[in-house]
């Protein structure tokens, strides 16, 4: 694959990843949020595949397949089974506009602070590292500002996608065993949180994290 093609695929995928993360802070419908997650997973897989093809690295291409399967298939499927209909009313602590603004500020912040991490590397992949950090920060932002269990799960997945992105952009991903183990761990965490969400509906009559007030000092 030619260098310019790789570079343009990487740039596009990074753009899509960032855009879907920012839109997550604004979406209110659960089904829509899960669809955004599918797009985000596909963009991540495309990024990995482009890197693999440009290096002629078969292992990386296989990882791209796993990423597509888990991040664009299994994870959204698990989440989609919980997320029916609209997310809880007044789910967010902040208004959608403020949510978007927060995401924008965090993205700029990520670009401002990530410069040393690139170490002077000017390639297309290195220039995209701040976008990965931005995804991590936006994931945090969603976790902080959303109060329904499903939205918090979404925030966690966005955070994790950001970390995966940084791993692929800085060093073509981690060693295969670690990569697979980490993917399995994240999948299991989401499955557990989904099961707890169902149980929360039984014990608390809803899935708003605001209702979790029993334990305190």
């Amino acid at each position: 694959m030619s260098a310019s093609l790789t570079s343009s695929i990487v740039t596009t995928a990074v753009g899509v990843l960032l855009l879907t993360a920012v839109l997550q802070t604004w979406r209110r419908s659960a089904a829509g949020s899960v669809r955004l997650l599918v797009v985000q997973g596909l963009a991540l897989a495309a990024l990995v595949a482009a890197l693999g093809a440009s290096r002629g690295d078969v292992e990386l291409l296989a990882v791209a397949g796993v990423v597509a399967l888990v991040k664009a298939g299994l994870l959204p499927w698990v989440l989609g089974r919980t997320a029916t209909g609209r997310l809880v009313e007044r789910d967010a602590a902040v208004r959608p506009a403020v949510g978007l603004l927060g995401a924008a500020v965090l993205t700029m912040f990520a670009y401002a602070v990530s410069d040393p991490l690139r170490g002077g590397d000017q390639s297309a992949t290195a220039r995209a590292i701040p976008a990965g950090i931005a995804l991590v920060l936006i994931g945090f932002w969603i976790l902080l500002t959303r109060h329904s269990a499903v939205s918090q799960l979404l925030g966690f997945v966005v955070l994790d996608n950001g970390i995966a992105m940084v791993a692929f952009l800085t060093s073509d991903g981690l060693p295969l065993t670690v990569e697979l183990g980490a993917t399995l761990d994240v999948l299991l965490v989401v499955v557990i949180l989904r099961a707890l969400t169902t149980r929360m509906r039984g014990t608390h009559g809803g899935t708003s994290v605001d209702d979790l007030t029993e334990l305190r000092d």
């Binding site: 170490g119 060693p175 065993t177 557990i192 707890l196 014990t203």
Partner: protein
């Protein structure tokens, strides 16, 4: 001797799978205890051999062997003391086995990435154990535990990713701890600094250090007694061990100032949180949980002092606190059985009413408060001395003051529960009463644990070389 490396990881995994597949009440409840005994035996054998054992992904040096021994000892106390007549239904036992396998793997992995995967797996294995009761409180605790635990550990993962990226500067990137600390490869300093800081921050969440501690009292107070004991005694220690491993990588490349600064801050904050929340605590299981935060803070200060004395004392404190705390959670679980309430105000006159529970509770609390002859007294003094030796007089003074406040808080609560005349049992308790008559068989593990906690103080001849070797292997104090 490679079998000593694989046994603590594979045996629990296989037994866990077996008990999940073929569950019979007759033996299921003994399986976790058998697994714990095997881990302890492997830990003792590895420590006794005192040589580095390596096999592909796994590696046991003096540090890893010692921490494996801690895992075994604490698990035996928690699971033997917590043996109840009813099994946890097969799935519970399987999860405890998976938890033990994951902790052994985290300690024995040479690869920082594999260590991370194993630590994240401990969160997964314990999630349903924390929520086991199925009540509102248990569900809430499990949710907070999994969200905070996995987000915290995700930060550590980002840190490890950055360390991996930084090792690309030296040719082939690697996550092998031996390679990263060997000094043969160069890390790019900016990435390594960011990576080490994030990894320490993330694992500190899992170690229950303030200000990332908020999941800990909830999870510890809601989980079944043996699981609370395991989490308090070993899960926190394994997370601390991960911090030690990351610290060694930092020490080899960017100096130790950053990590030690973070640990001193977390340590003093943890002591502060524990001091003030034990003073006003109304729930005795939460009281024990805050005491765990206090002890993790002490260990963090010991490591943060940067001296060999501080590190060795911190490692010994890990074992001493773990064994005693596991016994205390077991006793607390039995107190809950007979009173049906976790409120401190509902428990009175334990010494008169149930001396078989009252005495261990009182003596165990004394051990947690650092009374001589318990080993915690000597390690706490050693850590304060280490801080002063390192020129951190202010930290030593602040720590001593905060320990004193915690002392007052815990002593007042525990004396209120044990000494004095028993008041009638209120029936407002929100937990089911479980028949739990005095039994020598069930008191034995607790008595043994407290005895070990005291005897350790006099075993310097045996312990000093082990601790020195472990501190040297964890390779910071130089």
């Amino acid at each position: 001797m490679v079998v000593l490396l694989w046994l603590p990881v594979l045996f629990p995994a296989v037994m866990g799978a077996f008990v999940a597949w073929r569950h019979r009440d007759a033996y299921a409840r003994f399986v976790p205890l058998a697994v714990a005994v095997v881990i302890l035996a492997c830990g003792v054998a590895l420590v006794a051999r005192g040589r580095v054992v390596t096999s592909s992904l796994l590696r046991a040096d003096a540090g890893a062997s010692y921490v494996l021994l801690c895992i075994g000892a604490v698990s035996v106390v928690a699971l033997w003391g917590g043996l109840s007549r009813k099994s946890l239904g097969g799935r519970g036992e399987a999860l405890v086995c998976a938890f033990l396998a994951a902790m052994s793997l985290a300690v024995l992995a040479d690869n920082l990435g594999v260590m991370w995967v194993a630590i994240e797996a401990t969160t997964i294995a314990t999630a349903f154990l924390v929520g086991h009761a199925g009540t509102r409180g248990a569900t809430e605790a499990a949710w907070k535990y999994v969200v905070l635990g996995s987000v915290g550990v995700a930060i550590a993962f980002l840190g490890i990713v950055l360390v991996y990226a930084s090792s690309r500067a030296g040719g082939t990137p690697t996550l092998s701890w031996v390679a990263l600390t060997s000094g043969n490869i160069a890390l790019s300093p900016h990435l390594a600094r960011a990576g080490v800081a994030l990894a320490v921050l993330g694992f500190a969440t899992k170690a229950g250090l303030a200000p990332m501690h908020s999941w800990l009292p909830d999870a510890h107070s809601q989980a079944p007694a043996p699981v609370s004991g395991l989490m308090s005694g070993v899960l926190l220690s394994v997370a601390m061990y991960a911090i030690l491993r990351v610290q060694a990588v930092g020490a080899a490349h960017i100096g130790v100032g950053l990590v030690h600064g973070l640990l001193l801050t977390f340590g003093l904050l943890s002591l502060t949180v524990a001091a003030f929340l034990t003073l006003t605590q109304r729930d005795y299981k939460r009281l024990l949980a805050y005491s765990s935060i206090e002890h993790m803070g002490i260990i963090a200060l010991g490591v943060g002092s940067g001296t060999t004395l501080g590190l060795a004392a911190a490692l010994l404190h890990m074992l001493g606190h773990g064994v005693v705390k596991a016994a205390m959670f077991v006793v607390a679980g039995r107190v809950l059985n007979i009173t049906g309430s976790t409120r401190i105000a509902d428990v009175t006159g334990l010494l008169k009413r149930r001396p078989d529970l009252g005495w261990p509770f009182l003596v165990g609390s004394a051990a947690l408060l650092g009374f001589p002859p318990f080993v915690t007294f000597f390690t706490e003094v050693a850590i304060l001395v280490a801080l002063a030796e390192a020129g951190l007089w202010w930290a030593a003074g602040a720590a001593a003051l905060l320990l004193l406040v915690t002392f007052v808080g815990i002593a007042r609560q525990v004396l209120g529960m044990t000494v004095g005349a028993p008041a009638p049992v209120p029936d407002s308790g929100d937990h089911r009463l479980v028949e739990d008559p005095p039994s020598r068989r069930r008191t034995a593990p607790v008595a043994l644990a407290l005895g070990v906690g005291a005897a350790m103080s006099f075993l310097a001849v045996v312990l000093v070389p082990v601790l020195t070797a472990a501190a040297a292997a964890l390779g910071v104090a130089r």
